[in-house]
């Protein structure tokens, strides 16, 4: 599996897609920064605390978009280029291939998105009349959710790529599923707690809201983690059976 990770990492850093998405993430940070600064200038009475106030829907959606596109690109490209045949034909075990690729994509897409998030967090802490205080525990809470959620989302995309083996279809499904889930969550319940646990987009609130209890936070993390493991397992089952 170590070899799979090393090969996939190599491919990722040699591919334009990685740098384009990284640029988008960084540009959005700059864009956010400008937006926050101008907002503060026009409303001096506004207070910005921690990460919460600077995090908005745009960056939440962007995180999903970046991870989804990236995972879809990487996983499906191995099928569309038929490289998967060569990889397996060289003696790589299928389980090692799936796990190794999953880990690589999770790590790389976290690199892409977390830069923007850490920047947003620090910005929320330090910019704004000096009212913010750096909350290390909050940042760790936030990062853990990003990692666990990122893993689950990548595993989901990997499964879709495994089934469809098509880039555009994988991308579409992986990008629109969170939105659909959000609609479903909103429509089946108005209870904040259930909403938070079932809906991938507003789940960010779990990490970022000071109001969320530690218990709810942990439940969310565990659910995302287990879902990630389950999706990975499904990928392995599907991937093992199929002829390439």
């Amino acid at each position: 599996m170590h070899n799979v990770i090393s090969a996939q990492m190599y491919k990722c850093f040699k591919t334009k897609g990685f740098y384009i998405l990284l640029m988008i993430a960084l540009l959005s940070t700059v864009f956010d920064l400008i937006k926050v600064t101008t907002t503060l200038q026009s409303n001096p009475e506004l207070k910005i605390e921690g990460f919460t106030s600077t995090y908005d829907a745009l960056s939440g959606g962007l995180f999903l978009l970046l991870v989804g596109i990236y995972a879809a690109l990487v996983f499906s490209s191995d099928y569309t280029s038929l490289s998967i045949r060569q990889i397996i034909g060289k003696g790589t075990k299928r389980t090692a291939y799936i796990l190794g690729s999953l880990l690589t994509v999770t790590v790389v897409s976290l690199i892409i998105s977390s830069a923007a998030y850490v920047a947003a967090f620090l910005r929320g802490t330090f910019i704004g009349s000096g009212t913010g205080t750096f909350d290390g525990l909050m940042m760790i809470r936030f990062l853990v959710v990003i990692i666990v959620f990122g893993f689950m989302y990548v595993a989901f995309t990997a499964l879709i790529a495994n089934i469809t083996r098509k880039t555009s279809l994988t991308m579409l499904i992986s990008i629109f599923t969170p939105t659909i889930l959000q609609l479903v969550a909103v429509s089946i319940t108005s209870l904040a707690k259930i909403d938070v646990l079932y809906d991938p987009i507003t789940m960010m609130d779990v990490a970022t809201s000071v109001k969320t209890s530690t218990q709810d936070y942990l439940i969310a993390v565990i659910i995302y983690f287990c879902a990630g493991i389950l999706l990975t397992y499904m990928s392995i089952i599907v991937g093992k059976k199929k002829d390439l």
Partner: protein
């Protein structure tokens, strides 16, 4: 000779179609095994199974006498249907990807192989910019990473122009001669395969219809004039006079003269002038195409 690949009743069923039907074949070290069959005969499917990317419905195969393919796949190089390349990566980087996958830390082999397959000038090019022939060479190059003992190549000359075909043929012959690589090559271009292979397997609707060595093929497709019912020694004298030195006496008295079959009339007249009248004089030897087309289940195949 040691067996490199042995398949035992290898079968693949897709839905209701038996695509590969109880194929048992044996490939020995140093062989260049040519797999011939029409479109849809099951060549690719057979290669996918032994290449470890499709599971057999039933039957088994072994490489180097070992049934567990996880132990042997690293000794096999495959190029099935078309080269698997990452279009964004350069030629060199595509090779490097597989080096990393196999845990090869010394990068020396990359330039060595690129040189060997003749695309080292293009090593900095992205593979999406390569011509078909260059892609095919890179595909073979990737298959060669790890220096396998056997190469499985599915239609390696598909889509190449005549010079490309000659180049790839020479490359494959070189690999076989210099590196002792055993080759399994599929094609439906008969003439090409005949120039390369030492053994042939004909596959017809999933069934291995015939297996034949190059020598046997030559024998079967060798053009000859057959003379029956005369004293072979006397016939020989006449043939020598006509400077036809390549002849053989078979089956107690029949004379086979290996020459242009158009000469049969001339031979007949020469014998007649000496008062020898053959019981029968005829020509034998199918051409290559007729021979294979018959084995492939009839019908003309255009490549």
């Amino acid at each position: 000779m040691a067996s490199v690949l042995r398949t035992d009743s290898l079968t693949k069923v897709y839905g209701k179609n038996t695509v590969v039907d109880h194929v048992s074949m044996n490939i020995e070290q140093g062989d260049i095994y040519g797999l011939i069959g029409r479109n849809g005969a099951g060549k690719t499917t057979l290669m996918k199974m032994i290449g470890g990317v499709a599971a057999p419905t039933s039957g088994a195969y072994e490489f180097f006498g070992e049934k567990d393919n996880t132990k042997t796949l690293s000794r096999i190089g495959c190029l099935i249907e078309s080269p698997s390349l990452y279009p964004e990566l350069t030629v060199w980087e595509n090779m490097m990807f597989y080096n990393k996958l196999l845990g090869i830390t010394d990068k020396k082999n990359i330039d060595e192989i690129l040189d060997y397959v003749g695309i080292s000038e293009a090593k900095k090019k992205k593979t999406k910019q390569l011509s078909l022939g260059m892609k095919q060479r890179l595909g073979i190059g990737i298959a060669l990473i790890g220096y396998p003992d056997m190469l499985i190549l599915d239609e390696p000359i598909n889509g190449l122009d005549p010079t490309g075909i000659v180049d790839i043929r020479n490359l494959l012959l070189k690999l076989n001669k210099e590196k002792g690589v055993t080759l399994l090559i599929s094609s439906h271009i008969l003439g090409e395969l005949a120039r390369l292979a030492t053994r042939f397997g004909v596959i017809d609707r999933g069934v291995l219809a015939d297996e034949i060595t190059y020598e046997e093929l030559l024998e079967k497709t060798r053009k000859a004039v057959r003379i029956e019912g005369l004293d072979p020694r006397k016939v020989a004298v006449t043939l020598e006079e006509m400077k036809l030195n390549d002849y053989k006496v078979i089956d107690g008295g029949k004379v086979m003269v290996y020459c242009d079959t158009g000469l049969s009339g001339k031979i007949n007249r020469a014998l007649g002038e000496k008062g020898m009248y053959a019981e029968s004089i005829g020509t034998v030897g199918q051409d290559l195409e007729t021979y294979f087309v018959e084995k492939m289940g009839g019908g003309v195949q255009n490549a």
